[in-house]
Symmetry: C2
Subunit: 402 residues, 2 copies
């Protein structure tokens, strides 16, 4: 007899995530992937990380191997405070820091602490799929705020609020958003924070890509702008991660924000995983303290710049009339839209036969999706591969249209 | 104006956990602690771990530093399968394994997937405090099953089930339980699994200490017994961890069990932390593959044996008439009870003045506590310190009684 388990009805197992489904294709021989958020392995600063990992274990074996405080090991929280000061031009000292097992955990801890079933949470439309997934599992009611090439449309948000929407939380990637690559200009940043204060809506600024700028003018973090908006810093939690600027395998993310919220997040993390691997924390702290990030980051940025340009050029060459493209100033993504009625899901089936892949836009919508949208990542493939990949995409597109 | 956050009402911030409260005392100069589950730093196999960590990063930098599959890196899941075969005398091949960020995460993933507010979950009385805490945060209805020197009283459990209790889950540490140190005999193991099948109750066997046996006869894991009870393996999830036998700082735990349950736990982990730090996973896999655990474990066991004996002797010398003591065959804990009406909480206040500490029994009860109970850990202090600690406890006890 097959056992019948009584699962938690509130834990809705989602339909196979479209991105998970794509994983099987990434293993295909010769595949060129525009799907991943995986940075190129060549960009890992493995030697410096090996040195950091070995040095801290040699110097403080007990601190590396024992349980650590849930909040994070002091050497890392101190280094993250210094990094925050740097990112905000010395303006913000993150007094309260919680180290998390990637920033994904930070987001989920905030949901546990703040969001009950049916609570309203505002997100961008389109938005980061793992955020949508976490909100689904939390049974949150998602309010999709339209966005354009300048990120979330805060005027549209204000109209929704005036019409009575009362999101507890608003989740946003203000710089080089996933999937759109868009960056919120200063006026929208200020507007968003004014709305947060007025409507007592906690803004979660997720900033995994902010340092990956290769064009345009830097915008201040919401975290920095919040310091200038009266009451702003009461309504902002800042999340970031070493995944895109050092290595995802360390699983080091963090949050900073109001003490009352972080205190609860610490309790949720205690029952979650007690603490993030102290050895990894100390290795990361050492890496930062030794200035390795500052030394290595220009290489990552230059590489992404070159790759982005290769992709934009190739897309222009093959799809000038058919594909509308958002030009990013940093990050990992080109967000695009077929002008000729091509459906991104249908094209993907043909594309994998040609050994190229991407993520159809449908993955990024909580509600109804725009079927013509797709996200092309330039993070993983080298410029030559990118050019070949785009010719393959062209071939697939041609075959689909026949 | 102070901001008023709208927290999730279902996330009940617990009153300061009694064990957390004790942390401040552990920092006190000269403190001898019987409170911790921290093994002595001297027991960490730091050199071999340094070698493992360096070797895997050298050989597979990308696998260490990139995101890994949520299920765990193949080298580690394979090593954990081998370890499971060893622990069950070749009887059980754990087909489905999920690597977790400590076994604490494994337990919480199971709660997310299975337990909604008000669902009934059976635990031992007394039980592991972090399990109680996680169940509180999940708003579960806890059914406390009495236990004695042989662990959970399965006859009492059967009576509860006959009387209509319908726990979805039963959480148990069958070998060297925390706090009692008790080990479930074979008949109770079999009985428990028969009840699990009969009442469709999923048993979570948490086995962090099982390999730390220094006396008595080994008992088969519930996991092994389940293979002999018809339908048993449908109703058992096995959790274990490298925290107590290698090092907690790696944050490596795992679960194995029915595919349908693990599949959902993988989805919950995806939104939780994506994956456990691959570098730590690969280092652990290498450590296991190289036979370092087998080489080092006898040292840990011999050390705990010596410390346990030192503690039992000293307690016998100073408290023969006043303290009732459970003699463990392994693990880290001596569970005790004052015969003279001493309250463990009151004594602790006096004890910290004498520079010795322990955990009052009240931390281990979901419901009403026995105030005369206390848990003494022999994991952290060396035999000489243990003897000094017990004389200090004797002094504190004398002063309290005056």
């Amino acid at each position: 007899m097959k056992p019948v388990y009584r699962f938690n009805p509130a834990f809705q197992t989602p339909q196979g995530s479209p991105i998970r489904e794509l994983f099987k294709y990434t293993q295909q021989q010769g595949m060129i992937s525009f799907a991943g958020v995986y940075s190129s392995p060549a960009l890992f600063d493995a030697e410096a990380l090996a040195h950091s990992g070995a040095a801290v274990l040699q110097e403080s074996p007990t601190a590396c191997l024992q349980y650590g405080a849930t909040e994070g090991v002091p050497a890392l929280t101190e280094a993250l405070r210094a990094l925050t000061r740097e990112r905000t031009g010395g303006k913000v000292t993150a007094e309260n820091v919680l180290v998390t097992t990637g920033s994904q955990q930070a987001f989920e801890l905030l949901l546990r602490v703040l969001v009950g079933p049916g609570d309203c949470v505002a997100i961008e439309r389109p938005a980061y799929p793992a955020a949508i997934q976490a909100l689904r599992l939390a049974n949150a009611d998602m309010l999709e705020v339209p966005s354009d090439d300048d990120g979330m449309d805060t005027e549209a948000l204000e109209k929704m609020l005036l019409a009575g929407a009362r999101p507890k939380l608003l989740y946003v990637v203000p710089t080089f958003a996933n999937p759109t690559g868009a960056t919120l200009p200063l006026e929208r940043r200020r507007h968003l924070l004014e709305l947060a204060v007025r409507y007592q809506m906690l803004v979660i600024e997720d900033d995994p890509y902010g340092e990956l700028r290769f064009a345009g003018t830097p915008q201040p973090l919401l975290l920095e702008v919040a310091a200038d908006v009266p009451g702003g810093d009461d309504w902002l939690v800042y999340l970031s991660s070493l995944s895109k600027i050092v290595a995802p395998g360390l699983r080091i993310g963090w949050m900073s924000g109001p003490a009352e919220i972080l205190r609860r997040a610490v309790i949720a993390k205690q029952t979650g995983d007690l603490c993030t691997a102290p050895w990894m924390q100390l290795a990361a702290a050492r890496y930062l303290r030794d200035g390795c990030l500052a030394k290595h980051l220009p290489t990552i940025i230059a590489t992404y710049k070159e790759r982005c340009e290769a992709m934009l050029e190739a897309l222009q060459q093959y799809f000038a009339d058919t594909l509308e493209v958002t030009v990013p100033q940093g990050g990992m993504f080109v967000w695009a839209r077929w002008r000729d009625g091509t459906e991104a899901n249908a094209l993907l089936q043909q594309a994998v036969l040609e050994n190229v892949m991407y993520v159809p836009g449908s993955a990024f919508y909580a509600g109804a999706a725009d079927p013509a949208r797709l996200r092309l990542s330039f993070a993983t493939a080298a410029p030559d591969e990118i050019r070949i990949g785009v010719t393959r995409l062209h071939a697939a597109h041609g075959k689909l249209k026949r």
